[in-house]
C-alpha cells in the first residue's frame, strides 16, 4: 500500500495519507487531479470496484469532502480518495463514464448536499425527495428538529422525555 501511495504522489497532488488499516488507506487529492487519479487507479492499479461515493459537510471550514472508496479485489485493498470542494460553489467533474452506478450516487449528492456534477445523466431529476424547496437537507446547516417543529405540530396529550436523562438514571444512577 505504501508503494502505491508513493507511485501516486509522483504523478498527482496527493496529500495527507492515513493508513487506517493494513488494507485501507485514505488520502486527499487536489480537485483538478481527482478524476485523472481515479481513472488511473481504475485502469492501471486494478481498483475496479467503486464501493460508494459520498460527501461529508465540514461547515466550519467552508468545505465539502467527497469520498470515493475504490476497491481492488486482487490486492484485497481499499483506497478512500478525499476531494475537498468549496462549499459556496460545490461543483465536481462526473465519473459516470467509469461506473454506471456513479450517476445514481451523484444524483443523490446533488439532491442531498447540492453538489453539482455537470453532464451526469438525470442529475437534476429528484431521487428521493419530490417537491423539495428548502436547502439540501443533508447539509449541516439544515436543522431537522427545527424543520419538523415548524412543519408538523405536536399531538395534544403527548409528552417528550429526554432519552439522555433516562439513560443516566438506568446506566449511571450513582453519578
Amino acid at each position: 500500500m505504501k508503494a502505491l501511495i508513493e507511485r501516486l504522489e509522483k504523478k498527482f497532488r496527493v496529500t495527507d495519507p492515513v493508513m487506517q488499516r493494513a488494507d485501507e488507506t485514505f488520502f486527499t487529492v487536489d480537485k483538478a487531479d481527482a478524476v485523472a487519479l481515479i481513472t488511473h487507479l481504475r485502469e492501471r492499479e486494478g481498483f475496479t470496484h467503486l464501493s460508494f461515493l459520498t460527501a461529508v459537510d465540514w461547515l466550519e471550514d467552508g468545505k465539502f469532502q467527497l469520498t470515493y472508496l475504490l476497491n481492488n479485489n486482487a490486492m484485497k485493498a481499499d483506497v478512500g480518495v478525499r476531494v475537498f470542494l468549496d462549499r459556496e460553489r460545490p461543483v465536481m467533474e462526473s465519473v459516470h463514464h467509469l461506473w454506471k452506478q456513479a450517476a445514481t450516487y451523484q444524483r443523490e449528492l446533488k439532491e442531498m448536499f447540492g453538489i453539482d456534477f455537470p453532464g451526469s445523466p438525470r442529475i437534476d431529476e429528484p431521487f428521493i425527495l419530490e417537491g423539495w424547496h428548502d436547502i439540501p437537507p443533508y447539509r449541516r446547516d439544515f436543522d431537522t428538529k427545527k424543520y419538523s417543529e415548524e412543519t408538523y405540530f405536536p399531538r395534544p396529550g403527548r409528552t417528550t422525555h429526554d432519552p439522555a436523562d433516562y439513560m443516566k438514571q438506568k446506566l449511571y444512577p450513582e453519578e
Binding site: 464501493s51 479485489n73 452506478q101
Partner: protein, 392 residues
C-alpha cells in the same frame, strides 16, 4: 383487409448506447407504474415502465417512499443512541447494520471486544443470513406464481425468529450488538433447540428442491431470463450472490475475513449461468451453507465468559477525529458503513453502503429493457433488493 404493417414496427430505433428511442406521442408506447404497492416489488419502490406490446422499452426506478433520513438523524445523536436506530435500515436482516456500525465505532475509538462476543456476533450474522434467505426464496417463488413455497419458508423463518427471541428478546429487530460487544450469550439448552430448527429447515429445503427447482413452469420461466454478464460486475458495482452466480467469486467473508469467519471451514459458492434460475439455486445452496456454518459456530463458540468490553460513560463518550469503512457480506452482497468522527460526542457523518443501491437502480434499469412485462417481478426479486437501504 387494410394493410396495417406500415403502422407497426417491431422494435423502436435505438440510441448509440443501446437504449430505445421512445416517443410517447406516437401512441405506440404505454407508460405503466409497477409499485410502490405491488406484490412483485420488494418493499416500497416503483418501476416506471414504458412498454410496447408486452415488452419493456424503458425502466426507471423510483425510490423515496421509505426515506426516514437515518444518516442525518445519526448526526444529532450520541454514538450509543445511534445503536437502536441503525437496525431499522434493512428490516429482514437488521444485524448487519448493527455489526457494521459497532465495528466502525469500535475501530475509531480503539475498543477491542471479548472473544465470546466475537463468536456471538458471528452466530447472529449467520442466523440473520439464513432467516433472510428463507424469506427471499419464498418471494422469488411467489413472483412466478408458486405461493406454496413462500408458506413453507416463512414457517421455518418463524422458527428462526423464535431462536432470535431466545437470545435477545427481539424477533425482527434484535438490537443485540451495541458498540463494545453483545448484550448476552446463548441461553441454556439453546444448541439443542437450534439443531432441531436447523433439521426442520433441512427437511423443508428438500421439499422446496422438489417443488420449486424441479417445477416445469419455474424452469421454463426462469432459465435464460435476467442474464448478468460477468463484465458488468465491476461496471455496475454488482456484489454478493448476483456476482457469484455470474462466476465472479466475490465474498467478503473470504476476501476480507472478519469476526470468526477465518476459523470456519467453507468455500465460496459460485455458478456460471447467471440467469434467474441459477441465482435462485445459488441462494438455495447459500441456505445450506449457512446451516452448516451455524453448526460449526455452535460447536466452537464459548458458552460463558465476558461478552462486553469495558466502556467509557457512553453519555459523555467522545471519539477522536478519524474515518473508516467496514464491510460485511450480507445476503445481497457488500454491506458497509463509512463513519467519520470529528472528536465530538456525535458522529460527523455515517454513510450506509447497501448492495441494493446499485442492484435496484442502475442494474435493474438496464436489465428490464426488452424484458417481458410479466417477468419484471421475477427479475426484480432475483436481484434481491431492499429499498430502505437505497434511500436510508
Amino acid at each position: 383487409m387494410a394493410d396495417i404493417s406500415k403502422y407497426r414496427d417491431f422494435f423502436p430505433p435505438k440510441n448509440p448506447d443501446g437504449t430505445n428511442i421512445i416517443d410517447l406521442e406516437s401512441h405506440k408506447f404505454v407508460k405503466i407504474w409497477q409499485g410502490p404497492q405491488h406484490p412483485g416489488i420488494t418493499g416500497n419502490m416503483s418501476l416506471e415502465l414504458i412498454i410496447q406490446g408486452d415488452e419493456v422499452m424503458e425502466c426507471k426506478t423510483h425510490v423515496g417512499y421509505l426515506h426516514r433520513g437515518f444518516e442525518k438523524l445519526m448526526e444529532r445523536r450520541k454514538f450509543i443512541q445511534c445503536f437502536p436506530l441503525v437496525c431499522r435500515i434493512a428490516v429482514p436482516e437488521p444485524d448487519f447494520n448493527e455489526y457494521c456500525f459497532a465495528a466502525t465505532v469500535e475501530e475509531l475509538a480503539g475498543i477491542e471486544i471479548p472473544e465470546a462476543a466475537v463468536w456471538m456476533r458471528t452466530l447472529i450474522l449467520e442466523m440473520s443470513r439464513l432467516t433472510s434467505f428463507l424469506m427471499h426464496l419464498g418471494g422469488q417463488s411467489g413472483a412466478f406464481g408458486l405461493g406454496v413455497v413462500a408458506q413453507w419458508t416463512n414457517y421455518v423463518r418463524d422458527l428462526m425468529l423464535d431462536r432470535f427471541e431466545e437470545i435477545s428478546g427481539g424477533r425482527i429487530y434484535r438490537m443485540h450488538m451495541p458498540p463494545g460487544g453483545v448484550r448476552g450469550l446463548t441461553p441454556d439448552g439453546f444448541d439443542a433447540r437450534m439443531e432441531e430448527t436447523l433439521r426442520t429447515i433441512e427437511d423443508v429445503m428438500k421439499d422446496v428442491d422438489t417443488t420449486l427447482f424441479n417445477n416445469a413452469v419455474f424452469k421454463r420461466r426462469s432459465v435464460g431470463l435476467g442474464y448478468i454478464d460477468p463484465a458488468w460486475v465491476d461496471l455496475y458495482g454488482i456484489t454478493g450472490p448476483n456476482a457469484r452466480a455470474a462466476g465472479v467469486p466475490k465474498d467478503v467473508r473470504k476476501d476480507y475475513p472478519y469476526l470468526k469467519y477465518p476459523e470456519l471451514d467453507f468455500d465460496v459458492i459460485t455458478a456460471k449461468d447467471s440467469d434467474i434460475y441459477t441465482r435462485t439455486d445459488l441462494r438455495r445452496r447459500e441456505i445450506l451453507l449457512s446451516i452448516d456454518l451455524i453448526r460449526q459456530i455452535l460447536a466452537k463458540m464459548p458458552k460463558t465468559g465476558e461478552y462486553m468490553a469495558k466502556m467509557p460513560n457512553v453519555l459523555h463518550w467522545r471519539i477522536p477525529k478519524g474515518e473508516t469503512y467496514i464491510r460485511s457480506e450480507c445476503t445481497r452482497g457488500e454491506y458497509g458503513f463509512y463513519t467519520v468522527t470529528d472528536g465530538s460526542g456525535y458522529p460527523r457523518r455515517v454513510n450506509v453502503r447497501g448492495p441494493s443501491y446499485t442492484h435496484a437502480v442502475a442494474l435493474m434499469e438496464r436489465m428490464a429493457i426488452d424484458c417481458n412485462i410479466a417477468d419484471t417481478a421475477g427479475l426484480m426479486l432475483s436481484l434481491h433488493t431492499y429499498p430502505p437501504e437505497i434511500e436510508r
